[in-house]
């Protein structure tokens, strides 16, 4: 029996290891998954409970809407004075004995972590969930260098065993059923089959227990960094992060520079909001504030603490004043949970570290606009994301801004001509009145082409009926009515 999970080498969905065009991959995967009714029902069922609990917790707030504005104001203040607060944070936490490393990009961060590991003869690493780590492919890199890397969050542990990236930034394994997890555990851990989530959880607990005690290094992310007190704050439910950062002799924490908040008291608002928006809890199980390695008046704790502040093109997003509020994100995942696109195409179709609306907004900034603009196009702009966001990021409007920016720099020639002509016709009532009746003229002809490749609107008619145009447009009816005004006595 092996309790040693193999670290993923190159996840099949990882776009950086794949030469194929992300847009093509997106279409292929999305088309495939949207037809998978089993997937649809799993996600609907998993989120059904979330909606109930979230609404229950929101209702406990004296004013959830005002709390959102206040939370957004805190993040606005932090992000728009980022240099000031980052320096304050770094100075404070260094004064408490931690070492701060400012990483311009993923490779700088990785080099530093590898240097720490080498310097301290590290062999075993226990990791608690960090999306920033996912962003720079931390686990794979460390595993490729020969380190044993174990994910300790249950969901992350499961997807690590399956060698796939997290499905959702907060619920990494929400696409799997207990049956699938049971057979995975049987196969990889040699455990007996089980149909009970509780038993399956206990199998993972047992498999990981010794890992915490044996690890030479613990790696975590952080949900907030408090400038005033020089603390990082980690939010979790399972206790795996506390064990990962409390037991090994070295604690490495990696966080994006946007995680900063000015004051300790800001957490009094942000922690309950994160819990409510993220999982429908009034407060997450453990919120742990750490401001340095073990001190002399402590019985335990790591001897070393390394804090990695990662830019990795966040400053590119920061420079876009219009979309700067996307850096307010507290990674609660609420926008994914309400997004009808996410629910239908699933987290893996995105091919990004951050899925859902927030991922579609920020990925073009963190990677490349032209390669990732299709994510912003793949939205009905319904606005459910912006409505639910606890820090009021104007997500769906930013999708629109990404579209505008992408096509402004590099228009699609065919679309450009189409919209140019459209614009021309719509500016002129004469041309509009000339062109509009053609619609009624051609539609009967088109219906003959249904189900053939010649159908000009086959993207609609393949799956949906198209309405028969009425014999007269409103304009014609209006003119008719003006000629013979009806009498109103009813």
């Amino acid at each position: 029996m092996s309790t040693n999970p193999q670290a993923p080498q190159a996840p099949p969905h990882d776009p950086s290891s794949n030469k194929q065009n992300p847009e093509k991959l997106f279409h292929t995967s999305a088309n495939h998954i949207t037809r998978n009714l089993h997937h649809r029902s799993i996600i609907q069922k998993a989120l059904g409970g979330y909606y109930l609990k979230r609404d229950e917790q929101k209702a406990r707030f004296s004013s959830w809407q005002n709390a959102r504005t206040a939370a957004a104001s805190i993040k606005y203040e932090a992000i728009n004075h980022l240099d000031h607060y980052l320096v304050q944070f770094a100075d404070k936490i260094e004064a408490n004995g931690a070492k701060v490393f400012w990483a311009s990009d993923g490779s700088e961060a990785l080099q530093y972590i590898l240097a720490v590991a080498r310097q301290n003869n590290v062999r075993r690493i226990i990791k608690s969930k960090t999306m920033t780590g996912e962003e720079i492919h931390l686990s794979q890199t460390l595993a490729n260098e020969g380190y044993e890397v174990v994910e300790s969050d249950l969901g992350e542990f499961i997807v690590q065993l399956r060698q796939e990236p997290p499905y959702h930034i907060v619920f990494p394994a929400m696409h799997l059923t207990r049956g699938e997890i049971s057979s995975l555990f049987q196969q990889k851990l040699g455990s007996p089959p089980s149909n009970e989530p509780e038993e399956l959880t206990m199998i993972a607990r047992a498999a990981l227990r010794q890992k915490y005690l044996q690890a030479d290094m613990g790696i975590s992310g952080a949900n907030f960094a408090i400038a005033e007190t020089g603390m990082i704050s980690i939010t979790e439910n399972e206790g795996n992060a506390r064990l990962s950062v409390g037991l090994p002799p070295i604690h490495v924490v990696i966080l994006g520079i946007e995680k900063i908040v000015p004051r300790l008291q800001d957490l009094a608002l942000l922690l309950p909001m994160l819990a409510t928006a993220g999982a429908g809890q009034h407060l997450t199980g453990y919120n742990t504030l750490i401001s340095g390695p073990r001190k002399t008046n402590e019985p335990d704790g790591p001897e070393q603490m390394h804090v990695i502040l990662l830019d990795n093109r966040r400053t590119t997003l920061l420079a876009d004043a219009e979309q700067r509020d996307a850096l307010h994100c507290i990674r609660c995942g609420a926008c994914l949970n309400v997004c009808p696109i996410f629910k239908n195409i699933g987290g893996h179709s995105y091919g990004t570290t951050y899925q859902g609306p927030i991922g579609s907004v920020i990925t073009p900034h963190l990677r490349d606009l032209q390669t990732w603009k299709h994510l912003s196009a793949a939205s009905s702009l319904c606005g459910a994301c912006s409505e639910t966001c606890p820090v009021k990021i104007d997500l769906h409007h930013h999708l629109l801004h990404n579209r505008r920016n992408a096509y402004h720099l590099k228009p699609n020639p065919l679309e450009k001509i189409l919209w140019f002509a459209f614009n021309l016709f719509m500016q002129s009532p004469f041309l509009y009145n000339l062109a509009a009746p053609l619609n009624r003229l051609f539609t009967p002809f088109f219906s003959l082409l249904r189900k053939t490749p010649l159908d000009p609107i086959r993207n609609w008619t393949k799956t949906r009926d198209f309405p028969q145009p009425p014999p007269k447009s409103f304009k014609e009816l209006w003119r008719q009515r003006k000629k013979n005004p009806p009498s109103f006595q009813s």
């Binding site: 709390a67 606005y76 619920f171 989530p197 990981l208 004051r263 309950p272 920061l318």
Partner: protein
């Protein structure tokens, strides 16, 4: 361990502090619109307006003033605002206790309200015999001695600076004090320096907290204020706000207790003042 900053310079890459700060300052030259304060069109109730003035953080630029005078107002001029939006908390102690009790129930925390110390003792004895505690850990020598007399058949150990973490992992339970309890969220706030380190409250399968009613504060705001008043700017290096036993929903979003941390959290709240 002797920190050796000289060798660090050779072994570790230098980092890009100035480069990043420079990029940030360059980016921030254009101010961002306050999109979160934008008037949302609300045709359904055209009179409705968010009370925007109160929602903006009235920050003071100098954070130094907080260290001069630790009054509530000086520390946090915006405190009252947070409270306006967060879940309400009763002002009186019985109200706080009953809120804490009801939240404990939802969290599946084993919450026991004991009017006297002797009742609390018997609760502990009951837990010990029910779960057949062989070895337990606590945070201080003083508590170790007291608990040894209360639980004569249990081996009580403490997390002194050289304790064995492997032994702690196999202990039956841990019993600790806490910095405070938080009524609004049903939480226990512990610190590493006051409550026996970073692992005591998370490694054993059952965490028992003993607290007095005077330790029960209203909300997170009060809890942070309490810490800042107790420690000034010298806060403990590790603080954890514990809300219920360890839990997960990672398998089909079904709640399971005891994912990695304690499967059970017991809070014994004593109403009586401590015996002299």
């Amino acid at each position: 361990m002797i920190p050796n900053s000289n060798t660090n310079h050779y072994l570790y890459p230098p980092g890009s502090r100035e480069k990043i700060l420079c990029r940030i300052r360059e980016a921030l030259r254009i101010p961002a619109p306050k999109r979160h304060l934008k008037d949302h069109c609300n045709l359904d109730s055209p009179q409705f307006k968010y009370p925007q003035q109160n929602l903006e953080h009235p920050y003071k630029e100098d954070s130094e003033s907080s260290e001069k005078k630790n009054t509530k107002e000086n520390l946090h001029p915006h405190l009252s605002n947070h409270r306006l939006w967060l879940p309400p908390v009763p002002q009186d102690t019985p109200g706080k206790i009953s809120l804490f009790a009801s939240l404990s129930q939802t969290l599946r925390t084993n919450f026991q309200l004991c009017p006297t110390y002797s009742l609390a003792k018997s609760k502990l004895q009951q837990l010990a015999s029910e779960e057949n505690w062989k070895t337990i850990y606590t945070h201080s020598e003083e508590w170790k001695n007291t608990l040894s007399t209360i639980l004569p058949t249990t081996n009580v150990l403490s997390t002194h600076p050289h304790y064995d973490k492997h032994a702690l992992a196999t202990a039956d339970a841990s019993i600790t004090n806490c910095e405070c309890l938080i009524a609004q969220t049903g939480s226990v706030l512990i610190s590493s320096t006051y409550c026996g380190g970073r692992n005591l409250s998370v490694l054993p399968p059952h965490h028992v907290v003993l607290a007095e009613v005077s330790q029960l504060v209203g909300d997170l705001t009060d809890a942070f204020l309490f810490l800042q008043q107790k420690y000034g700017s010298n806060l403990p290096p590790y603080i954890s706000i514990i809300t219920g036993p360890s839990r997960t929903g990672d398998i089909e979003r079904i709640l399971v207790l005891g994912a990695h941390g304690p499967k059970k959290l017991s809070i014994i709240l004593i109403e009586e003042n401590p015996p002299p």
